[in-house]
């Protein structure tokens, strides 16, 4: 019961914040993808690096649970390409679809229904596709810390690269007067 309440509470807070920053608005998401609006990508990347620092803090005091998903060169890469097409087309990702559905956006209702269909389809083909696409190029649960051996240095590297990306997005995303 506690886990249900914790999940519910976390979800409400998460859904509220992503709506307030505008991530559930597919118009804003589309303009982020078109490099016209920088708030959403800056928000996503900054949240990740702050979370990485926070999680490192948790781990040093021995709190929390982690689970590293494996990297499959083919399956993870191919999935990312398919995902990117769907994200660019709809302006929704699975998480924002839940919140936008609650917000009452009709196009999110259809994204949600399409999502259920996509899930059912993959689940049906799981036994066929996983051995074909996922397993052969599965590199295992690799992390940045494997290559660097020092966890804090790996966290710093991630923070450095993400900070640079946020700076670049801030610099290059936005409206420019149309050249005439």
């Amino acid at each position: 019961m506690t886990k249900i309440l914790l999940g519910l509470f976390s979800g409400i807070a998460f859904g509220f914040v992503i709506q307030r920053v505008g991530a559930t608005n597919p118009d804003r998401m589309a303009r982020a993808h078109l490099m016209l609006e920088s708030d959403i990508p800056k928000f996503m990347l900054t949240a990740v690096m702050l979370s990485a620092i926070g999680l490192y803090g948790l781990q040093t005091v021995g709190v929390g649970r982690t689970l590293i998903l494996p990297t499959s060169l083919v399956a993870t890469g191919l999935a990312a390409v398919i995902f990117g097409i769907g994200w660019g087309l709809s302006g929704y990702c699975p998480g924002t679809a839940w919140a936008a559905l609650g917000e009452g956006r009709m196009d999110a209702v259809f994204a949600f229904l399409g999502g259920l269909a996509g899930t059912a389809c993959f689940a049906h083909l799981h036994e066929r596709l996983v051995p074909l696409l996922y397993d052969p190029t599965n590199l295992g649960q690799i992390t940045l810390a494997d290559g660097i051996s020092s966890k804090p240095v790996a966290v710093l590297l991630l923070v450095g690269v993400f900070t640079l990306s946020v700076w670049a997005i801030d610099r290059f995303w936005g409206y420019r007067e149309p050249a005439r």
Binding site: S10, F16, I18, P26, D27, S51, G118
Partner: protein
């Protein structure tokens, strides 16, 4: 040019701290957050009721939690959070985004067909990779996982390319909301 919108939406940096606080709280009280598995738990619950044999026969449902799980409570919470935030927000929701309407017209059928297909693709792909923007990119990168970073770089690049092909020059004239 951005005044109107900036005053309505939260500042991105403040929101980043808020979201990171929530994510760290989730790692402390549960583990890596995810949202595409919420779709699996909905279907699993449904199939257990209507086709229990199929649900037990398929590996993808066996390995995923059903509706009595943290992840289902989480995605349900996201919908509630979205509902509360939407009801208390200054801008009314639109069923068709402005930029889409400018490019493809006001046809609801066209927009809903596109988001249905888009939704299909993002969930099919998330289940193939094992996670989505949250479950793989955000959760993974927070844990320094190569899978999350690899997935993240590609989804941003491909989504940007897709949007460019889809919208062309639409949207460059200015902001609307």
């Amino acid at each position: 040019m951005e005044k109107n919108e900036k005053s309505v939406y939260w500042n991105w940096l403040a929101a980043s701290f808020a979201l990171a606080g929530i994510i760290v709280f989730i790692f402390a009280t549960f583990g890596p957050p995810a949202s595409s598995s919420g779709f699996v738990s909905v279907l699993k619950g449904f199939l257990q009721a209507v086709a229990p044999d199929y649900a037990t026969a398929k590996a993808h449902y066996r390995m995923s939690p059903g509706p009595d799980s943290w992840v289902f409570a989480f995605v349900l919470g996201m919908a509630i959070g979205g509902f509360v935030a939407g009801r208390t927000f200054k801008i009314p929701v639109r069923d068709i985004p402005e930029i889409w309407e400018k490019r493809f017209g006001p046809s609801r059928f066209k927009r809903y067909a596109a988001t249905f297909f888009g939704g299909f693709l993002i969930l099919f792909a998330s289940r193939m990779a094992g996670g989505c923007t949250l479950g793989l990119f955000i959760s993974g990168s927070t844990q320094l996982a190569v899978s999350g970073l690899y997935f993240g770089v590609l989804i941003f690049a491909v989504a940007m390319l897709t949007a460019r092909i889809l919208y062309g020059e639409t949207g460059k004239e200015g902001r609307h909301d």
